[in-house]
């Protein structure tokens, strides 16, 4: 009796372990947050980029308009890659692009915009990175498409041709 149960148990345990690891193989090990439900945009207080005036988030995000909130920085290389797509999007009439200047020096950021043109309708700065966390952001670059004070799309990393088309489709 003993000799029969033992190999049997061993096979069951090994097959359970095999199934667990096999399923684990198929999961992506890069964590992506669930974007199932649409989240409200956070309420925060920040400084504007040019004049360093303090403003409230309610003042810039109006209800029935599309906004693209883009987190950028002059020291971030992928931000340069996505810049041409932002310039392309800035020609869209029903979309306003809001920039969040993340942990940047004002001089460097101004030079960056002078060099590559400014696609933003409004820029505010986040010197210690805490506002980016309010948004649930991971780093730079990151973009949020907003409508009626809700985040309807989140793009982690630079905007590319595909996400550009997707944004254009969403704001139609």
């Amino acid at each position: 009796m003993k000799t029969k149960i033992f190999p049997f148990l061993l096979i069951i345990i090994i097959s359970i372990i095999f199934v667990i690891f096999y399923k684990g193989l198929q999961n992506s090990n890069v964590y992506q947050p669930q974007m199932g439900k649409q989240k409200n945009i956070p309420i925060f207080i920040a400084k504007t980029f040019e004049t360093e005036e303090i403003f409230k988030s309610e003042d810039i995000f109006e209800g029935d308009k599309f906004y693209l909130m883009n987190i950028w920085s002059s020291w971030c290389v992928p931000c340069k890659d996505e810049h041409k797509f932002l310039l392309n999007l800035s020609t869209q009439k029903n979309l306003k692009i809001v920039g969040l200047n993340y942990k940047d020096k004002k001089n460097n950021a101004t030079n960056f915009l002078n060099e590559l043109n400014n696609p933003y309708d409004f820029i505010f700065s986040d010197t210690d990175g805490t506002i980016a966390i309010e948004w649930g952001a991971y780093g730079v670059p990151e973009s949020f498409l907003l409508y009626k004070n809700k985040i309807i799309k989140k793009i982690i990393g630079p905007i590319d041709q595909n996400s550009l088309l997707e944004i254009k489709e969403l704001i139609q």
Binding site: K103, G129, Y138
Partner: protein, 121 residues
């Protein structure tokens, strides 16, 4: 006796430095329990990435504003999901994780019982 005095002296000296890994402040305790999401396998406390530095600032800011530990965890869970916590709560996604050790213990116990106790009878 002399040796004992010497030993106590060393103990006292060692207690003065703060090198030992005891958690000193609440913000350190909190950031040690937060996963740095962009540098996998590290806690926010251990990491020096921009994301982790911002999170450390935020935790300090929240504590100064009077938030409790629990409130900070809930706040970050709302922003980033449960993954950011190293100590996951009991939910339908994590029940296996919590019950597996118990299950292993029971199976192991059953094997031991079978091998050593019922064998004698």
């Amino acid at each position: 006796m002399r040796f004992l005095k010497f030993f106590i002296l060393i103990l006292i000296i060692l207690n003065f430095n703060l090198v030992h890994a005891k958690t000193k402040n609440l913000d350190e305790k909190i950031t040690k329990n937060l996963r740095c999401l962009i540098c996998q396998g590290q806690s926010v406390y251990d990491s020096d990435s921009e994301f982790a530095i911002s999170l450390k600032t935020l935790v300090k800011k929240k504590l100064n504003e009077g938030s409790s530990e629990e409130e900070i965890y809930n706040y970050l869970k709302d922003k980033y999901g449960e993954w950011i916590l190293y100590d996951p709560g009991f939910s339908k996604n994590t029940y296996f994780l919590w019950l597996l050790p118990l299950l292993m213990f029971l199976i192991g116990g059953a094997i031991i019982l079978k091998l050593f106790i019922f064998k004698k009878n």
